[in-house]
Assembly symmetry: C2
Homo-oligomer: 232 residues x 2
Amino acid sequence: MDSIPSGLNPDFELARCIDHTLLTPTAGLQEYRVQAREAARTRVAAFCVPPFMVAEVAPILKGTKTVTQTVIGFPLGFHTIGTKVFEAREAAAAGAGEIDMVVNRAYIRTGRMDRMAAEIQAVVQAVAPLPVKTILEISDLTMDEILASASAAVLAGAAMIKTSTGFFGEGAKLDVVRRLRDHLGPKVGIKASGGIRDLDQAWAFIQAGATRVGASRGLQIMAVFEGGAALW
Amino acid sequence: MDSIPSGLNPDFELARCIDHTLLTPTAGLQEYRVQAREAARTRVAAFCVPPFMVAEVAPILKGTKTVTQTVIGFPLGFHTIGTKVFEAREAAAAGAGEIDMVVNRAYIRTGRMDRMAAEIQAVVQAVAPLPVKTILEISDLTMDEILASASAAVLAGAAMIKTSTGFFGEGAKLDVVRRLRDHLGPKVGIKASGGIRDLDQAWAFIQAGATRVGASRGLQIMAVFEGGAALW
């Protein structure tokens, strides 16, 4: 898809909804540097990088509109609370401005929502006032599990609910984002991520209720929008 | 495959080569408990569980022939050295007897073998004298990268080279295990893992030079062997 979806106006601040993402485990420092500069130029909301790259990317993004974002307990979420807290604190100290944390889905599946919440609370407190997004990895959860864990996460201090890691399963789904928006009300942030590859899809998720879209093709999506916006 | 491969004798201590593995992110405490008891009964070398389950499983396996094993920086390996050391130390304190650590493949890909080695060394020192296996995730590395990183890992103190996480790519390959065995000589442990689903495959990897086989079907593989051994 290389054209502008209908309903998307050139003055819509699309960049503020895009988390450009580079989480390829073999990607080297140069790729992060180049993409960080381009992310800053396009003013996307965030550039999401692995924990070991936060210290390299944060100085490049400092003073720009683009936040350095990283992932905690990623992508399986089955680490200890202690490790998640340590990892998040280290990321904050290295210059991360946003934290995307994978929740422990064993707790969701076995009905231990209290433990899931305790873990989120611990990470939220460890990095306050930085916003923490909680990644549910919706693909192997039921709709009931998704809604129950999302509201528990918000009550535990999560700033935003994120659908997927992008590494497993089907990724983001429009109907889940719509249900989450209905369920959580208008104020909670929702980040759709996983399998969103073009501007058409990104815009569809924003219309469904997502306030952010995470995509490893975030810069390409911006390029299509900017190219189209220039023609308007 | 439900029969005994030719060349496998009933007195071969197969159990000592098997790391039974349960790393499903939604699995609950009961599943770990049941499988831990069965792992101990079959005397497999290890039961590999997520970090957050080490403290639950270690007391069950205490005093048995089966070691509690866990995974560090799993499965992407792109955490900071600090987080990997913290996670490994916590696992050791909680009763893990073996540590399977994912190396940082960005360092391999960009020729920073010194950094990869420094990370391994830090984890090895943090948990000494526990043996540390290094997971290379061979599926997206070239044969040259695999051999170079394997010898660097051994020099940095790794007790064993492990092929794959089982979460991405093709998993273990017979030709890679053969090449690793030639390259590393007879003394270094090699763990084949990823996609090994039956006794036939497990035995093929052992014949190719693996000293351990990691499998989420480890208990089923043992059941087939025990059933066959009973008929001999």
